[in-house]
């Protein structure tokens, strides 16, 4: 049997040492009538060589991003991944370890998480960050829960121009804890939210306002105003950010955000059909740390006074507080966080600025090109790497046509807002080239 060392002879010896005569004897505690009397109904096993063929065939049924040109974003992005990352994270010592419960032989993982916390805190300009969350969406939901816990309030307000999927997940997390979710609508002119539209007397009840910068539409909201407003009501400002954008956009810490979350999958992780990604979670104040969900690594010293790292503040966690834990996270996304850490270490400040800068410039280029070709940009607000294009088209049909030319078009917004039925969300990362964009515009222009 693959991967099982016990030989029949060894099994015999081991059973004998237990006074048993066959493997079935090991399972006497299981009521006979519950035992499965047949094999599981699964396909015949494939030897490794056949397995590789079978899996390659399955993989070949997917059109992957190296074989087409994609303008899809809407929560997952085709960013460039430096080749060296996969080599480092696949070292057995990282790959086949678990949560660093035994710190003395887990300094590799612990120190790498400490680096992750540091770099996320520095990128966001926050005071502390945790070891990772499942993804950006669940991180946002947990941030809302934490805000309620910190403020002792049971209502939260979320910007309606947040990623609609994230909003749904938020809703799922909140409604089951009987927390009320209020959404703050966006203007159909600008795509931006208007904080004044919130019912005025709600203010003092709100645990937080949740807002993303840039918004789902790529546009930039006036966070200063929103932050000022919620703070005037002693609620928290929770921001979701694209970490890449922070190479150029104002850091949440500069806006006075209390909690910052986001998805760091775009930092050095393959896109992998949307997962595994990795979420991050950072807070502005050490006082908030003890309410923070997830693992946290702290610095300490060993018996000889040498610096070392340990899991810390575990009193918050499910192992200790059980039903009063700050969250139930146990296994998180350590390896993806490691990839993000290596990415940030490779790119450094100049590199991150450059990635952000190229996203910005290429997005601007495509917008100019499209406008010049007679297309309409739906919202006028400044955008970062995504924008909404409007045309009197069935975008699903256009996308099918694009596919024939090796292009994957944008995300049709009719799926999220009937008001935007004639719109599509287009993402442009640093991986897109001028030639690709030019041909894309040429194709679209040809179909007008």
């Amino acid at each position: 049997m693959p991967y099982i060392p016990n030989t029949p002879e060894e099994q015999r010896q081991m059973l004998e040492s237990l006074g048993l005569s066959n493997l079935a004897d090991l399972f006497v505690d299981i009521p006979e009538n519950l035992k499965l009397k047949r094999h599981l109904d699964l396909p015949e096993p494939l030897a490794e060589h056949q397995l590789l063929r079978h899996m390659s065939q399955l993989a070949e049924k997917n059109l992957h991003l190296d074989r087409c040109v994609s303008f899809l974003g809407a929560g997952a992005y085709d960013h460039i991944v430096p080749a060296v990352i996969s080599h480092l994270i696949s070292r057995g010592e990282f790959l086949t370890a678990y949560t660093p419960y035994q710190a003395e032989i887990s300094q590799g993982v612990l120190q790498s998480i400490f680096e992750f916390q540091t770099l996320i805190a520095n990128l966001t300009k926050m005071e502390a960050a945790n070891a990772s969350m499942y993804d950006g969406a669940t991180a946002l939901a947990e941030a809302a829960l934490m805000a309620c816990s910190v403020t002792n309030r049971r209502k939260v307000a979320a910007a309606a121009n947040l990623d609609p999927q994230w909003l749904k997940i938020l809703q799922v997390y909140l409604e089951n804890q009987d927390i009320e979710l209020i959404t703050i609508g966006y203007s159909l002119d600008t795509g931006l939210i208007d904080i004044d539209s919130v019912e005025p007397n709600l203010g003092p009840d709100l645990a937080c306002v949740l807002v993303s910068q840039p918004s789902f539409f790529g546009s930039l909201d006036d966070i200063h105003r929103i932050g000022g407003w919620i703070k005037s009501h002693k609620g928290l400002l929770v921001m979701a950010v694209d970490p890449i954008s922070l190479g150029i956009l104002k850091a949440p810490g500069e806006y006075g955000a209390d909690i910052v979350v986001g998805d760091a999958g775009c930092l050095g992780n393959p896109i992998s059909f949307g997962g595994p990604s990795v979420g991050f979670f950072a807070v502005a104040d050490m006082k908030l740390v003890r309410k923070m969900p997830g693992r946290i690594v702290g610095q300490t010293t060993d018996r000889d006074g040498n610096i070392g790292y340990v899991l810390t503040l575990q009193a918050r966690e499910q192992h200790i507080r059980r039903e009063k834990a700050t969250s139930n996270i146990c296994t998180n996304q350590a390896l993806n966080a490691l990839a993000a850490t290596i990415y940030l270490a490779l790119l450094g400040p100049q590199g991150i600025r450059e990635v952000a800068y190229q996203c910005l410039q290429k997005t601007a280029y495509l917008r100019r090109k499209l406008e010049a070709a007679g297309f309409r940009l739906r919202f006028k607000a400044p955008v970062f790497k995504e924008f909404v294009l409007q045309a009197d088209w069935d975008w699903d049909e256009i996308n099918e046509r694009l596919l024939e030319h090796g292009y994957i078009g944008g995300f049709p917004l009719k799926r999220v807002d009937p008001n935007l039925a004639d719109c599509v969300l287009i993402a442009v990362t640093e991986a897109r080239t001028k030639a690709e964009m030019d041909q894309f515009v040429d194709l679209l222009r040809g179909w007008r």
């Binding site: 081991m14 505690d29 678990y98 680096e115 296994t331 996304q333 400044p382």
Partner: protein, 480 residues
């Protein structure tokens, strides 16, 4: 030395292709007030330095590839490398979750088939692959229980989830996150659910029961049918915490014992690597009655095509997109490689290895439940405690033997617990070496307790001060 200690202004470890479009001044694109003013304190290093830094870091870490890792309840089995190659195929690693379904039929087929495999292993109907880890699966399952009761109009009334005191900490924490009240019930002398206590606990307020079986003591609860009956009769549902399914593949199926919802940990039972703490994947499988409540989306197969669909009464999505797809790819490949007979052999040998080690150690360490175990067993360090040596000391001393320590101080119901899970991928020679190490530590506890208290000494750092870390938390780099 941390990354920022090594940083030198001006170094770069990666360069993008040159910008190939005309650049516009940033200020013309984005108003000043939106731009970052503060410094961007990230390290500046070249690729060779980054490689050496992380290579060195890794060398300070234990992993399954390095040595024995009998961490109870975590199933630290061998992670086949072929599955890493497979998950890295561009056809799997380079697809966007929002691509048209016609362009991702291979991915959807894989998910659909994995769904079927897991349903078959669970003896249940349909799977959601969305949860990111076991605890996330628990939350999802509990939300389904809630939705089910709500659908039946009983949500207000059924607010309690019954959880045995041997349960994993995530169970009560998940119950709390799902907005339930966790009600703890005691274990009986054989380590199973105290059936009388359970009877006393159920009532119209009961939403369900969360059970691990084999439980965290590594014991199979023989009364499971009785338990199921009690819960079902009270109108509740049974949730199976399947993190420990390594003992039961092809042997017994949770669905056949009356469970309504199961989560599996693909990163345990199905051999996907733990990655230093993730990513995992915690799919849940539900009975026919609950399929309509599954998270959005599930994968369906009609007219020879695979597509994503929203279950009728879906609780909604619990995670962005479809879950940890790359992890699913590895688990799928594992199942296809082993087949039914292989999976059964996994469980048989996992159980054999655990019993073998348990039996060898029971004269040296107190064994609170002296009966056949499943894939793991729990010792107690209480004899050693009497000699002034704690389970923590024993664990730390094991590190000096090149072995990762078992899970300690869990389950909570065993004093000074030492929870050992050898897994099926370990050889008898490795088990024998572990037994020998444990025996010599038991001897040292008698003859040289200070050695244990000073342990570890052969590790990259010596025993670390956890209290200091928590008292005055230093959570990020500060320039000296």
């Amino acid at each position: 030395m941390l990354l920022l200690d090594l940083s030198v202004p001006g170094r770069r470890g990666y360069a993008l292709p040159k910008l190939d479009v005309e650049a516009i001044p940033v200020a013309d694109l984005i108003p000043e007030s939106f731009l970052r003013e503060s410094d961007l304190e990230l390290p500046e290093l070249t690729e060779p330095e980054v490689v050496r830094y992380f290579t060195q870091l890794s060398r300070k870490n234990h992993g399954v590839d390095v040595g024995f890792y009998p961490l109870g309840s975590c199933t630290m089995k061998y992670n086949p490398r072929v599955n890493e190659d497979i998950a890295a195929l561009p056809g799997f690693s380079r697809i966007h979750p929002r691509q048209p379904e016609s362009t991702v039929q291979g991915a959807l087929q894989l998910m659909y088939e994995l769904d079927c495999f897991l349903a078959e292993a669970a003896g249940l109907a349909k799977t959601s692959l969305q949860p990111a880890a076991g605890a996330h699966g628990e939350l999802t399952g509990l939300l389904i229980i809630k939705a089910y009761h709500k659908f039946k109009g009983e949500a207000e009334q059924r607010r309690e989830i019954i959880i045995p005191d041997s349960a994993h900490g995530t169970n009560p924490a998940s119950a709390q996150m799902a907005g339930f009240i966790a009600r703890e019930i005691p274990s009986d002398p054989r380590g199973g659910v105290d059936v009388e206590a359970l009877k006393a606990a159920v009532g119209p307020q009961t939403a369900g029961l969360m059970l691990t079986n084999p439980n965290t003591l590594g014991l199979f609860d023989e009364n499971i049918e009785k338990i199921a009956e009690i819960i079902h009769d009270a109108g509740g549902l049974l949730y199976y915490d399947g993190a420990n399914a390594n003992a039961i593949l092809g042997i017994v199926r949770p669905g056949d014992s009356g469970f309504d919802i199961v989560h599996f940990n693909l990163h345990k039972t199905f051999s996907t690597p733990h990655g230093g703490g993730g990513p995992g994947s915690g799919p849940i499988v539900v009975s026919k009655e609950l399929v309509d409540f599954l998270p959005d989306p599930i994968v369906e197969h009609t007219d020879g095509k695979y597509h994503l669909a929203r279950p009728k009464h879906s609780i909604g999505p619990v995670k962005a997109f479809y879950g940890n797809f790359a992890v699913m790819v590895k688990a799928y490949a594992y199942i296809r490689h082993l087949g039914a007979a292989g999976l059964k052999a996994v469980s048989e040998n996992a159980v054999l290895n655990a019993n073998y080690v348990m039996n060898q150690l029971k004269n040296d360490y107190h064994l609170p439940y002296d009966r056949l175990c499943m894939h793991e067993f729990v010792l107690s360090g209480k004899w050693q405690k009497e000699q002034g040596v704690s389970t923590l000391d024993i664990a730390k001393r094991l590190l000096d033997y090149g072995v990762h320590a078992p899970t300690i101080y869990f389950p909570l119901i065993v004093e000074e617990a030492i929870m050992v899970e050898p897994t099926e991928t370990e050889s008898k020679a490795t088990l024998d070496a572990f037994v020998a190490a444990m025996k010599s530590i038991a001897e040292e506890a008698k003859t040289d307790p200070d050695k244990l208290k000073a342990a570890p000494t052969k590790t990259p750092v010596k025993r670390l001060d956890e209290t200091k870390a928590a008292r005055n938390p230093v959570l990020k780099y500060k320039r000296p």
